[in-house]
């Protein structure tokens, strides 16, 4: 008997209902489901009675690539319904797709992510014809809200239309494999029915391939030689399922669809309104009865206009937003676009999306086998003698000490309780070579807050401690929030954990975040630190790391962009931004050959900055010094110094110059010119220039200041000790007394309200 092919959309209640009714009606011999075939021998584990949503987590790592992916199930997943209903009617239930670690899934982290984005053109055309905003709305309109009659044919027509053209290579491989299962099952079932539940896009291909002649059961692919990986059940959450929240998710708004699945569209619409209003009122937002009436009237009107028997998801949302938001929005409504909520979304809209998302979190049955991470951590802790409570001091120059430190740091970044670092290096350039840790046995049981519970959750990050820590660090990089301090923290934690290279996507996120930093000073600090790690650090093994090299490239580009945006007249020297210019120069000098930094572009920016009167003097000075220190042939420092001789800004300009090109200044006739300029200043102008001049010369260390003093003596034809010029004539006691007096005067002034 031929198989019945049900093409579904993942996480669609309408499809789940169809699957349940077809299985109940046919009582098939086999139910074949799109899912990882390597989990087939562990289906009992999957059906232990977990609280949904749960997911099969699969990790994979070999010499070339690392991959982690999830196969999530919730109550209304058609695949889940196929599993449970198939079991209930006594059918043989099988997953028939390639394992999640197979190269065909290399760029997917969610097996049940929407395939529509691969067929965007057709979907766009359909959206235009039905006059809807996007595929989610289209789907609701066609299937979730529409009456259920003839849904099977309509689904087939939809997917045939959307799957218009040949599949990509990855999909073709999966379809060929799935079709082999189908043929074998049909042959084995004899005259009993077979039901095949797969993504709708695969259905046409499977029907075509089901007619081929081979009928033997296919092998389940084994992990290649040298690769490690495995699948474990992890608790999942509606938040992670939600397309508004994540990268590669299925349908949006799982909370809403759960209600739709349980109690139908009218009740789901009411529930949605109720929970939005409750959330808003909890936040002390006024939602009046008149607003609610308006919202309901709008939702009803929209449903009628759009031909829905009951208000659909976006009808309710549109109604609420019309009634509740009485100002201009900064960001388009998230359900008109797709993907993550952008920053700046209206707070009422954020609450609406949260209400749709729901906050359900799955829970595993106590008998579920534990994810690999738990065993991996236990083994690592044993290996380095870290299992027992107590304090440890680790020598980082020793291989064992370093390895133990990395294990503990990995636990730390995973927020596993019971691990605390008391002392240790705080930055890449900190000359501290030992760490001390306090280890406690934080609740060995599985209770909330216990180490075991935390490890199971962290198991979602990866099956080994290294994978898990890498993934946890990757999660901390949010390109939408370019916080330099956080980025620096991630990079340093990565070094401490011994993760020297970040994977492609994480690195891309990191670089985007660096490219979005808005302040020059902090960016300079990060660039200097990273440059230090890249150049010197053998302790953490970060020397010449490609990741840090890429960060350097991005940071240099961003510094140049930000520097050119600095405008404003005379202002005190900003040491932060001078530091950024110095770090950029150092990056070009020290890694210009190995790392992709564009020295030409940098020089061009600096040339423009140094000649632009609208740029603050310190930056102009630094920009001039930049050009001088990199290409001394085509600059004329004497003229530049004379050009900057305004007593109001001279000191700040010099501060910039000295910060970047101290050595060049000492070697060139600039000091003479400066001496001449300062000597010619009238008394008042000198006093104006003095504080900034003092600050500028502070860039020279004492030994160089002595050289300058010697130079000055020589210019005046005097003989004497240069060092004595640098010494204060007064005794330290006198200075201390003066300072105490000043403090007292300040205090009095403050007390009398005079300052």
């Amino acid at each position: 008997m031929a198989a019945t092919f049900l093409g579904v959309r993942h996480h669609s209640p309408a499809c789940a209902r169809l699957v349940a009714s077809v299985i109940a009606a046919q009582r098939p011999a086999y139910v074949l489901v799109e899912g990882p075939a390597d989990v087939n021998d562990r289906l009992d584990e999957l059906l232990l009675g977990h609280e949904l949503p749960v997911a099969v987590f699969t990790s994979y790592r070999d010499g070339e690539r690392a991959h982690a992916s999830w196969t999530p199930f919730c109550g209304y997943s058609p695949e889940w319904v196929a599993l449970t209903e198939g079991r209930r009617c006594g059918a043989q239930v099988r997953f028939i797709d390639l394992p999640a670690w197979h190269p065909a899934f290399a760029d997917r982290s969610n097996r049940y992510a929407d395939a529509e984005r691969r067929y965007a053109d057709v979907v766009d055309r359909l959206c235009r014809v039905f006059a809807v905003d996007n595929v989610d709305v289209l789907w609701d309109h066609l299937f979730e809200i529409a009456p259920v009659d003839r849904i099977e044919e309509r689904l087939a027509a939809y997917f045939d239309l959307v799957r218009d053209g040949p599949a990509g290579e990855d999909d073709a491989a999966r379809e060929a494999y799935m079709a082999r299962w189908v043929r074998a099952a049909v042959a084995a079932a004899g005259d009993r029915p077979v039901v095949v539940v797969t993504g709708g896009f695969h259905r046409p291909a499977l029907i075509r391939l089901a007619g081929l002649s081979t009928v033997d059961w296919p092998d389940v692919p084994r992990l290649p030689e040298g690769a490690v990986g495995g699948s474990y059940l992890v608790p999942y959450s509606f938040r992670r399922l939600d397309a508004f929240d994540g990268y590669q998710s299925g349908m949006p708004s799982p909370g809403y669809y759960q209600r739709l699945w349980e109690s139908g569209p009218a009740a789901a619409a009411d529930g949605l309104t109720g929970s939005v209003v409750a959330r808003l009122r909890r936040r002390k937002q006024v939602v009046s009865t008149a607003d609610l009436i308006a919202a309901r009237a709008m939702a009803g009107g929209l449903a009628r206009l759009r031909g829905h028997p009951a208000p659909a998801r976006t009808d309710v949302l549109d109604g609420l937003v019309c009634a509740l938001v009485t100002e201009a929005l900064d960001i388009p409504l998230p359900w008109a676009a797709r993907g993550r909520l952008p920053a700046g979304t209206h707070p009422a809209v954020v609450e609406m999306v949260a209400a749709l998302s729901g906050d359900k979190v799955g829970r595993l049955h106590p008998d579920t086998p534990l994810p690999g991470l738990v065993h991996d951590v236990a083994a690592e802790l044993d290996r380095y003698g870290l299992a027992a409570a107590g304090t440890r001091t680790l020598d980082l120059t020793d291989d064992t000490g370093l390895a133990a430190s990395r294990v503990l740091h990995r636990l730390r970044v995973l927020h596993i309780p019971g691990v605390r670092r008391d002392t240790g290096p705080a930055t890449g350039s900190d000359p501290v070579l030992a760490e001390s840790w306090t280890l406690t046995e934080a609740g060995g049981g599985a209770g909330a807050g216990g180490r075991l519970a935390a490890l199971i959750e962290a198991g979602g990050y990866g099956a080994t401690l290294l994978d898990a820590a890498s993934a946890a660090l990757a999660d901390r990089i949010d390109p939408a929030v370019p916080d330099v301090g956080r980025l620096a923290g991630v990079l340093f934690d990565a070094a401490l954990c011994g993760i020297t290279e970040l994977s492609g996507r994480v690195l891309a996120d990191l670089l985007r975040a660096v490219g979005a930093v808005g302040e020059l000073g902090p960016l300079g600090t990060v660039l200097a630190t990273v440059l230090g790690l890249w150049r010197h650090d053998r302790l953490f093994g970060t020397r010449h790391s490609a990741t840090l090299g890429a960060v350097i490239t991005a940071a240099v580009g961003r510094v140049l962009w930000l520097a050119e945006g600095v405008r404003g007249g005379a202002a005190p020297a900003d040491l932060g931004r001078l530091g950024a210019i110095v770090a950029t120069r150092d990056a070009i000098v020290h890694c210009g050959r190995t790392v992709d930094v564009d020295a030409e572009a940098a020089l061009a920016v600096m040339r423009r900055l140094s000649g632009d009167p609208a740029v603050p003097p310190d930056l102009r000075g630094a920009a001039f010094g930049f050009g001088w220190s990199l290409g001394p042939s085509n600059v004329d420092p004497v003229r530049a110094v004379r050009g900057a001789a305004d007593p109001q800004t001279l000191g700040d300009w010099l501060a910039g110059l000295f910060a970047v090109a101290r050595e060049e200044v000492l070697a060139a006739p600039v000091l003479g010119v400066l001496d001449e300029l300062v000597g010619a200043l009238p008394e008042h102008a000198f006093l104006v220039a003095l504080p900034a001049l003092r600050q500028a010369f502070a860039f020279f260390p004492p030994r160089e200041r002595e050289r300058i003093a010697r130079h000055l003596l020589a210019r005046r034809g005097l003989v004497g000790s240069a060092r004595s010029l640098l010494r204060l004539a007064a005794t330290p006691e006198l200075l201390a007394e003066a300072r105490a007096l000043e403090a007292r005067v300040d205090e009095l002034l403050v007390r009398e309200g005079l300052v």
């Binding site: 006059a131 809807v132 905003d133 709305v137 008149a290 308006a294 009237a297 709008m298 009107g301 929209l302 009628r304 206009l305 759009r306 976006t314 549109d318 019309c322 009634a323 938001v325 009485t326 100002e327 201009a328 929005l329 388009p332 409504l333 008109a336 676009a337 390109p479 370019p482 985007r512 490219g515 979005a516 808005g518 961003r558 140049l560 962009w561 050119e564 945006g565 405008r567 572009a601 061009a604 920016v605 423009r608 609208a614």
Partner: protein, 362 residues
């Protein structure tokens, strides 16, 4: 009256054929006082090839749904957004679809008075006959209420607050009192089909100064710049081509040049580059409408100065006037953009764009 010499006929004349076709085929329920059903009105605006109706507004279809349903309720419709996002066009289309008449329009401004909104008098007749319906000169609001039609109020936030608030009783009680007249003439009750579409742009005073009472009587719809690059490019191309044809230019604009233009406008508008780096936004308006006018100017320069279709260098020459206007800061931002954010892109036209940066004045 639709003579060919009218510079810009109103929507109901421009699309008279489409409206007639939709009206004839319209089987849906019409809200009281409406010229079309909601569904037909929607198809008039978002387009429907089968019904012979073109797409007239590029934006989320759900926006049109919400706008139409709002107009069928007792709340007015407030379209807000950046200048140049086609708010006025949308309001005109909505009025034409709902009432078949988009000419009942009040243009808001600092000098708008209640007379221009409600009614005024023909003073010769007033002096001769006293107050009467003959000497009354109805303004758009009064006419719309009496006839049950949609009234458009453009740039409502540019009116003084007290003038804005004169709408309060009209919108809630749906009645306009004319105290000078006696008897039944003294009260004009709004007929079915009357509603108000107001527009406001977020660059002027914004809607924040509007009274809460008036805000409550409107549903707000924000009209956004076009989100999709391809859609915006197509729109700019089509509009620029039409404008150039009217100006006697026989070569169509070059697509690669328009790509540079539209990309530049989008990036300067959003403050984000294609690859996602934040940069400075210009303070002046970089709307699609402005992009069309620059594309038009580029085509004109190319054709009348050199007899070609316009080059990336022409964009630079035209940008200073549109984008920077008289703001030195914007000019500096623009220069920085041309210096630093153009070089990393691939393509000869981007290179030409970069090479022409010296054409910026100053």
């Amino acid at each position: 009256m639709a003579g060919d010499d009218i510079q810009r006929p109103p929507a109901e004349l421009r699309y008279a054929d489409e409206l007639a076709r939709l009206r004839d085929a319209d089987r849906g329920d019409r809200p009281p006082g409406w010229a079309l059903s909601l569904d037909a009105a929607r198809r008039f605006i978002v387009g429907d090839e089968a019904a012979g109706s073109s797409r007239k507004f590029v934006g989320d279809p759900s926006l049109i749904d919400r706008a139409l349903v709002t107009l069928a309720t007792s709340r007015g419709l407030m379209l807000v957004g950046e200048p140049g996002t086609a708010k006025s066009l949308l309001s005109e289309l909505l009025a034409a679809a709902v009432s078949g008449d988009s000419t009942l329009t009040i243009q808001g401004g600092a000098a708008t008075t209640e007379d221009q909104i409600k009614y005024s008098w023909n003073y010769a007749l007033l002096v001769a006959e006293g107050p009467s319906t003959r000497s009354l000169v109805p303004a758009p609001m009064l006419r719309g209420m009496a006839a049950g039609k949609t009234v458009r109020f453009e740039e409502i936030t540019r009116c003084p607050l007290e003038v804005q608030d004169s709408l309060l009783s009209l919108l809630s009680d749906r009645v306009l009192a004319i105290p000078e007249l006696t008897g039944a003439d003294g009260m004009v009750f709004a007929r079915d089909g009357f509603n108000v579409i107001a527009t406001a742009n977020t660059r002027d005073r914004g809607v924040n100064e509007m009274s809460a009472a008036l805000k409550r009587r409107f549903n707000f719809e924000t009209v956004f710049p076009i989100a999709d690059f391809g859609t915006e490019l197509n729109l700019v191309e089509a509009e620029a081509r039409a404008l150039l044809e009217r100006s006697g230019v026989t070569v169509p604009p070059r697509r690669d040049v328009l790509e540079v233009l539209v990309t530049t406008f989008r990036e300067l508008r959003t403050g984000l580059t294609e690859r996602g780096d934040p940069m400075d936004r210009l303070s002046s308006v970089m709307s699609t409408a402005e992009a069309v006018s620059v594309a038009h100017a580029v085509g004109l320069r190319g054709w009348f100065l050199r007899r070609d279709a316009g080059s990336p260098a022409d964009i630079v020459a035209c940008l200073a006037g549109t984008a920077a206007k008289d703001s030195g800061d914007d000019l500096a931002r623009l220069r920085r953009y041309l210096e630093q954010q153009v070089t990393w892109r691939k393509g000869a036209h981007w290179k030409a764009f970069h090479d022409a940066r010296h054409l910026l004045p100053g």
